[in-house]
Symmetry: C2
Subunit: 569 residues, 2 copies
Amino acid sequence: MKSSNFTIATLKENPADADIASHQLLIRGGFIRKLATGLYNWLPMGQRVLNKVTRIVREEMDNSGAQEVLMPVVQPADLWRESGRWDKYDAGDLLKFTDRHDREFCFGPTHEEIITDIARNELKSHKQLPVNFYQIQTKFRDEIRPRFGLLRAREFLMKDAYSFHIEESCLQRTYDLMHDTYCRILDRLGLDYRPVLADTGAIGGNASMEFQVLAESGEDVIAFSTESDYAANIELAESLPPVKASFELLTMEEVATPDRKTIVDVAAFLQVEPTRTVKTLIVEGDDDDLVALILRGDHQLNPLKAEKITGVKSPLVMASDKAIKKATGANPGSLGPVNLPMRVIADRDAAALVNFICGANRDDYHFTNVNWDRDVPVFDTCDLRNVVEGDPSPDGKGQLKFRRGIEVGHIFQLHDVYSSKMNATVLNEEGKAVTMIMGCYGLGVTRLIAAIVEQHHDDKGIIWPLAIAPFQVTVIPINAHKSPQVQEVSEAIYTGLRAAGVEVLLDDREGVRPGAKFADAELMGIPHRLVVGDRGLENNHVEWVVRQSGKSVDLPLEEVVTRITQESA
Amino acid sequence: MKSSNFTIATLKENPADADIASHQLLIRGGFIRKLATGLYNWLPMGQRVLNKVTRIVREEMDNSGAQEVLMPVVQPADLWRESGRWDKYDAGDLLKFTDRHDREFCFGPTHEEIITDIARNELKSHKQLPVNFYQIQTKFRDEIRPRFGLLRAREFLMKDAYSFHIEESCLQRTYDLMHDTYCRILDRLGLDYRPVLADTGAIGGNASMEFQVLAESGEDVIAFSTESDYAANIELAESLPPVKASFELLTMEEVATPDRKTIVDVAAFLQVEPTRTVKTLIVEGDDDDLVALILRGDHQLNPLKAEKITGVKSPLVMASDKAIKKATGANPGSLGPVNLPMRVIADRDAAALVNFICGANRDDYHFTNVNWDRDVPVFDTCDLRNVVEGDPSPDGKGQLKFRRGIEVGHIFQLHDVYSSKMNATVLNEEGKAVTMIMGCYGLGVTRLIAAIVEQHHDDKGIIWPLAIAPFQVTVIPINAHKSPQVQEVSEAIYTGLRAAGVEVLLDDREGVRPGAKFADAELMGIPHRLVVGDRGLENNHVEWVVRQSGKSVDLPLEEVVTRITQESA
């Protein structure tokens, strides 16, 4: 391709609203453009990358034996009502609309309902199982706050797959196969990633695993073991019950703590560590009641863990100050589990404390030397908190450390969450109708591209892995308009490389200085750059610069095509 | 692929709501399934065809030098307001909705606004022109009456391209190039089609041409010349002015025509041919006035021709009976151009009549021997009618005959319809900002597949052209469960063909009789069928049946792979 026939749309400045490298560089490199909040155009340079990523995903899915299908973007409300998600799906993210005949539809954020409808209609017998259907299709999630460019866009391209089975073991095999397929895809894309245990979220089901690309800009925090291959999203990572130390129980006392409302203030005032205090969070229960969640002062509540507790409203809703005052007589800041007129649930670490400090349920007063059982006779104990670095790994091996990650894929064992509600059955070997069980497997195609850039860039721009670079090589002639020789050699290299199957961009833009072309080549992340100039040609040389290493080599003219073809394979 | 791992979803019965062959056979053959009105799922068998058609379209577009992009399905209202189409686009077809922040969007039925926005932002200089951007993207048109399966679906896949230029001659070259590219695509898809002159419709612009696939089920009527390559949609085909015969002008008389209101009734009552009469149609003008359109009694009004006349409201609106009565004193059925208190526009053929009959603008009366100029001194003459078979061809060569067609593609010279409204300029060679001019080029990808089936089927099912068949070959073992030899030979052929790069479906479904497998192979339209049975193997033969011709040949076993590989290329 010659840049005289190919639109290069690089920009000198970072867009004002772009905070992270992938967002900045994909726009500055001319790969994407913002159309509206969370909506992006793919420009020709970006579309080449997108096509390559799509091809790799399709190849590996086909190799896994999955069957490609295509389901409409527009989905009828009826099926979502059958599954129970029409009014429940991630509050507000589901974009609903009515057609000209006032029938209700949504713009699909995911396709469980549609594929389950297909499965119950087309699959009749156990002989047709297992199947794994996939598609590469546009999705829309009306995110309340789209951000980070492609990482949290509203419209995006996704590969989603759905498998159907009778036996658990068969589901497990496909789930494992998808795990391996995702690893192959991410390996081919040159990504450093970890499969981690994860929460199942709005999709539902039981087992689930996220594929997290490691990157400082990631929105997720992953907890790794220092001594095993345990890895989990901290949303999910379990905090193990600590060993309860045995201390003499001291006498509980009420002390005045005027104007001290935060853990830090109270601990400082009473001259103890925050680890000796507890905090009391009041949330709404399932039956218009209130529930108190007790955590050690230095720990953070994990809402996903809390909302899974029977009796606690899901999603989690914090009680209002007014409701708290009415129930306890005190304001937040002076609350505690002693004589609290509601159900009390203590995190395992809070429950292991002795002689601890908590609010007295009386404004500006706290209790010291509080002890469970003696002072709080009735309470439940649960895992309620986020793990912290240094916690023991839940598998018993080593300690937890944290890394940030970008979730690019997510695989689930849905079991019968959808198939039972939608009555998706087949006849088993005995001729009896049995409900199928399902797996589902998502991979964010456009998000992958942002994740690749997060891992593959430097201060000059993107550094595409060869397999997905828009072009493998760019040829930059120096002053071609003055030198017929430069022009001729550049054209010959261009033609030779193309004949050898290399994707090459000849940067023949008029009126753009060589320095600007070099900078563009670096910004756009083309793996190999060949610079053709009179000075080099005097010595029969072309300059070859490798984007990754920045290394420059003078290649003898006669070797250029062969060598660069090898390097581009 | 083995059918034990590939979902075959053939049906015995035609769906109740499917009237035409492509709709029936694509559903019965298990290629698509209706999700809701005008929305279709693509099942694995159909997706294979869709991927092949998409690949051919992409290859030819790339070969033409067009640059692939991808624009969001969801489009902001602002851009549609800029172009003036937000409230104007094909009444009701534009699906509008608001997001969670109450911002207005539509589900893109076409992408002129978005691409023009991209062009005005990214293209700065004449040096970047010409460019031709294309995408293969999902569209949605909220058709009031979706029908004929994929032919008039609401959600569909389309290839749309948009070119930008400064010079008319440059636009013409790209337009011609797209014409040739479309011909190559349709040739590769094995279609019998005609490029025909067409109206520009809601898209706007001047020159335009449709690519019509000839099929009885087509919704369009195409007028061809018997003696030249003239072809046009009858919406557009011009009716030439006839030679006005010279006759003696007779005296106009008013005659009573009690209760005769239609042309047929009046002509019969007065014992003349309808060709001697005119009909008078009253439509609304641009300025709340009325306009009379006069056609020969046997001719039909062409609304597209009428609404293009200055002063006539567009789209065309027939006047109400009440407005007609008020303006003329008469009811429809007794109207005529004599003394009519409004502007009169006569079709060329009506204007060539002498001594004709028309309503007297007095209920139950007509005039005979009416003559233009003498009896109707002021009137305009225009081409107002649909051409009819036997009309002279507008290019002066031969006569018109009609065929029906399916519009699969449409190319337009938009000129500056969008670019001037949206202020899309570049700097020309003198450094002056000039408005770009545009072409646009649509090709209905999913519609193409239906058109192919309309042309390639028989009473047994689809007959896919090799280039887009889901599989080129199906191998059907007879009683493989009883014959290890049949199973072994079938597997060997399957493996051999796959190794040779042939796409082959081994129909190893359990519990399905050979006859049903043969019928499915015919219904699904697989070009080659190989039947492996003990009887044939006794003579070292495999039966080879060609779907197109139905011919059956006994192939010696050792020749099977080589021969069928050749036939599948």
